[in-house]
């Protein structure tokens, strides 16, 4: 977002652009590890979805379909909470985009 001058600001410091934090791609928080989805093992329990702090688990029609790497911070909770064996979510090395 372009930096606004004082004359352009909404009154009272309000922010009317609700939900616009989505412009910030927090995927950049990841430090070399990312979760990888192995759909073949997934039972679609959606534990990964309920425990992801960044809404980075994509669910469509009740099924886990993938990870939104734009926002995934690589915390790894999804891989720990995934109940399957072998896990449908594992942490793997990632090339850092510097």
């Amino acid at each position: 977002m372009r930096k606004m001058g004082w004359k352009e600001l909404p009154p009272g410091a309000i922010n009317p652009w609700v939900g616009n934090f989505m412009e910030v791609k927090t995927g950049s928080f990841r430090g070399g590890l990312k979760p990888v989805f192995h759909e073949e093992h997934c039972i679609h329990c959606l534990f990964c979805w309920v425990f992801c702090p960044d809404n980075a688990i994509i669910v469509k029609e009740g099924k886990m379909v993938g990870i939104n790497y734009d926002y995934c911070k690589g915390c790894g909770i999804c891989t720990v909470e995934c109940p399957t064996s072998p896990k449908s979510l594992t942490m793997e090395k990632e090339e850092l985009q510097l």
């Binding site: 616009n20 309920v50 734009d70 720990v80």
Partner: protein, 311 residues
Amino acid sequence: MAIRARLKDLATLDDKFVSGHGLCPGCGIPLMLRMVLRATEHPIVAVNATGCLEVCSSGFPYTAWKIPWMHSAFENAGATAAGIEAAYKALKRRGKLPGGDKKIKIVAFGGDGGTYDIGLQSLSGAMERGHDIVYICYDNQSYANTGGQRSGATPYGASATTSPAGKKIPGKLQWRKNLTEIMAAHGIYAAQASVSHWKDLFMKAQKAIEIDGPAFINVLIPCPTEWKTKPEDGVQLAKIAVDSKVWPLYEVENGKYKINYYPKKEVDVVEWLKPQGRFAHMFKPGNEWMIEEYRKRVNEEWERLVRLTKL
């Protein structure tokens, strides 16, 4: 109207708190929000005390909130929410609500800092006056946003930056304030929940919001940054807190105590303490008495809670 607590159904509801926020990787706060913000069909107006959630979700010009959200100061989420509620009552009565008459629910969020300590007065006052608000304390057991200073919610023995484990003094030597009990003493609905037990949290949020009057929920929030733990272990740790009776899941409704979850097997407090860097000094030789004291009091508090359910 009750919403079904099924993940498949909950996942179809829109996120009212979106990605892009600056909370730490592995932070438990968004897990709590996911359940609370889906717990009612009525529009929610959120009020937030200064703290982790507020700072990381509202950095101008960005906001992670898709619902009306207000922050004014640190110690007054209770009072600010009460003010919005008073205006809601007045404007509704006078037919002046923007966009026409409707039911709106006001939910205040405060960290343990802004609730147990500096915010206790305004919370207590709002609850005593009977405002129709829900107050959710997201308890990560320290003033996390400012680097982990001790709060009234910091557990016994924990090393925090203002109660550090040093050569002479081994961390915080005061027991935690029992805020849930303090709130129950106001004669309102008061409950304790954990992000690990999402369904229990959801049901409590639903109940609390449905109540026409004040309600309070204290939610345990794993904080890898200040607990000095691995981010991926947060939910498991919260689970261990519940299973080891460090953080019982219970509710007080109309004065009646109910424990919602009786741990199926014995889990010693050591399982809760060992994985956390903030308790590491308690495992040094010579400090065994700290773990003994901790274990003793956790069990005493549990026994007392069980007795209360029998009243």
